[in-house]
Symmetry: C2
Subunit: 411 residues, 2 copies
């Protein structure tokens, strides 16, 4: 972790991916992030993949570096504690609180209207499904956007969902951005605000930002599926002579000329250019339009060599390429996991020790602090009640006895 | 747009998706974002999809609300102007500059070392491919992470690339977050920094954050591909009697019970639970383990009804579901595009008028400002040279004559 945000205290009431990654990114940049959960765990506490002892590798991956307090959120007193945490005053020393990240419903006990009565300058970033408040998750929003029908081999009409929860992830990072932006504004004006980030709007806006929406509007129908072909330029997966699959792409003129050079295709491509009366060098779109003519040349060139021959030649020649590798190979890849200084082996709440990443960006001039594992559920309950809500030991004991709060032992 | 960041001036030297979306998100939250490009356009200026007149719908989607200056970046003087823009002093009125977003190479003329000599407290957020500086793009990083082999129907071994550039998008939003975070830190300490955001680290960290990496390490191999089945819970696409495809999912106990209720499957599922001696209600993982037994029940239930029957029943019953729809249907969907208040029809540099989104989040208490289209390339060249670099009209004229800068007319 880094300490850019060490003056922030953020409260997170969340589940699943989007809101938890927002808190994760904030924590890994130095913010104190307090996540509250239902005693026994919220709806994401047992999400797969699981360790052998049943602990969720997913939960402990998404909550690294946070503090945990467990509350009975179906009791009025537990809900009140959640409200008080979200709206607690700034701690001493010029630190900023009143920063709340959540995916709780817009009109429930954690509504902005309710919370603002407790702290008028609250900043609340709220992940939502559909913008109208109705249920939506990454899977259903993605289906509504048209992407699964554009994804996968052209010869198979079945819709293909993405495995990576891309909308959740984008939403989480965008929420972290909006939270810090709203804090900057509050530092200047004193005003808080609610920021609503529905997956549906983030999906619709992104498809428009990338040109998909305008393209569909102009064409009257969405882009047809085309397997792994890179739209509007040159690129695809190719098989080497020894049966490896490599991704090759050429968008810029330089990427194109380098690929032709190393694959020894300049002559054949020049002949094709002469035949068609066009130049592939300048206009990447022509490489796409005529890809059915180009692919056989590349297929033959790949088939005539092994991956072991091509890899160093591509690297030496400055070609933009990559091998498809299963994740077990990725774990052994020094560039991704094995020797990656962003990762550190730590012991997690599951009891397992394995490498985990800190902040996803690197600041060369700053020292990367230790990677902090996720808390056990309720690990920081007492400390948070005492420090943030200024409760006495007696009061905290009463809350435990009444089942309103619980520690890491579940009581 | 909103004005949370109206006190920021950000300079962007970028191409493709990640760095431009970072600038886009900043601009749509009110920052002044100045993008410099090569005269005639950088490598992304003609990226597909294109309008009929050849304008890039992609470029004009990703650069909304920015200002544009066109420079000859292969000339020493053009490069010097880029350096001076990135490091220009704060404008009057307490506004913050010295904020630079780029995907230019780490060791080129826009290296942090070079720029820091011109402004010691510069904040530079740099999108990279691989962390070691070697070439990598969304497509090749994704191939290296193992995702394409986990994606798509289980009966087809071909790797499936994602169509949505998810790593670029996540990187762009994360960069916007780190830029504002670094500004907060600079406001407190006066120190700037370089923040490097390689797609490779963002990919590797994300796969670890979600538990994929630990899962693979424990199992010795990555998750097998399983089509559209939701891993570790219940969910998949199902065909209705009239041939529509709907996504249904049930992660929480409530989502599960609602789905059974509306599909009238409670009895059959209870019989299966009795036979297996388990409860699907409590443990979503069991629904996944025994999905081969559950799917036929759901397939029959869907096949026995039309989408028109199921949709209102699902909505009324609180089921988490969604229809797969092509993008042309999404455009007509009032929840996504048609009546979405985040969108506004504006005239774009292509000359076309079509709906475009502002900020992806909504702030109920603030007024959404007008959606601003992308600039024409070089549209703001003179204004930027005069205002940011304090150049005289004579000096600006000389730069045009020498071909160092160009306006929207390309000269």
């Amino acid at each position: 972790m880094y300490d850019l945000l060490k003056e922030l205290r953020v409260v997170e009431g969340s589940a699943f991916v989007a809101a938890p990654t927002c808190g994760l990114y904030l924590a890994q940049m130095g913010a104190e992030v307090i996540r509250f959960d239902q005693i026994g765990g919220g709806p994401d506490f047992r999400r797969w993949p699981l360790a052998e002892n049943g602990s969720s590798l997913y939960w402990e991956g998404l909550n690294k570096g946070k503090k945990s307090i467990a509350l009975n959120l179906s009791s009025p007193e537990g809900r009140q504690i959640a409200q008080r945490l979200a709206t607690a005053p700034d701690p001493a020393g010029g630190r900023d609180a009143g920063l709340f990240v959540t995916n709780f419903p817009v009109d429930g006990f954690l509504s902005y209207e309710t919370l603002q009565k407790l702290r008028s300058d609250l900043i609340c970033v709220r992940v939502m499904g559909w913008a109208d408040g109705s249920q939506g998750m990454d899977y259903t929003i993605n289906a509504a956007l048209g992407l699964p029908q554009m994804t996968g081999p052209a010869d198979d009409p079945r819709p293909v969902n993405h495995v990576l929860a891309a909308w959740d992830l984008l939403t989480g990072a965008y929420c972290a951005f909006t939270l810090v932006s709203a804090l900057l504004a509050r530092m200047r004006t004193g005003e808080g605000r609610e920021i609503r980030a529905p997956l549906s709007d983030i999906g619709a806006a992104t498809m428009a930002n990338l040109g998909f929406a305008a393209e569909t509007q102009l064409a009257g129908q969405q882009r047809p599926r085309m397997g792994n072909d890179i739209f509007g330029a040159f690129g695809r997966d190719f098989r080497t002579g020894d049966g490896q699959t490599l991704m090759l792409l050429a968008i810029t003129p330089k990427q194109w000329s380098k690929a032709l050079e190393v694959l020894d295709l300049s002559g054949e491509v020049a002949a094709l250019e002469a035949e068609l009366g066009i130049s592939f060098a300048v206009d990447e779109g022509l490489r796409f339009t005529h890809r059915a003519r180009l692919y056989p040349l590349f297929e033959r060139a790949f088939a005539g060599r092994t991956a072991a021959e091509l890899a160093p030649a591509f690297d030496a020649g400055g070609v933009t390429w990559g091998a498809y590798q299963p994740m077990e190979a990725a774990l052994a890849d020094p560039r991704l996991y094995k020797d990656n200084p962003a990762f550190e082996t730590v012991r997690h709440p599951s009891g397992l020790s394995y490498p985990a990443p800190g902040a996803m960006a690197t600041i060369p001039q700053d020292v990367r602090g230790r990677v902090r594992p996720a808390p056990r559920l309720g690990e920081n309950t007492d400390e948070i009640l005492a420090e943030v809500l200024d409760m006495s030991a007696g009061e905290i004991g009463r809350l435990h006895d009444a089942g309103v709060v619980a520690g890491a032992d579940g009581r």
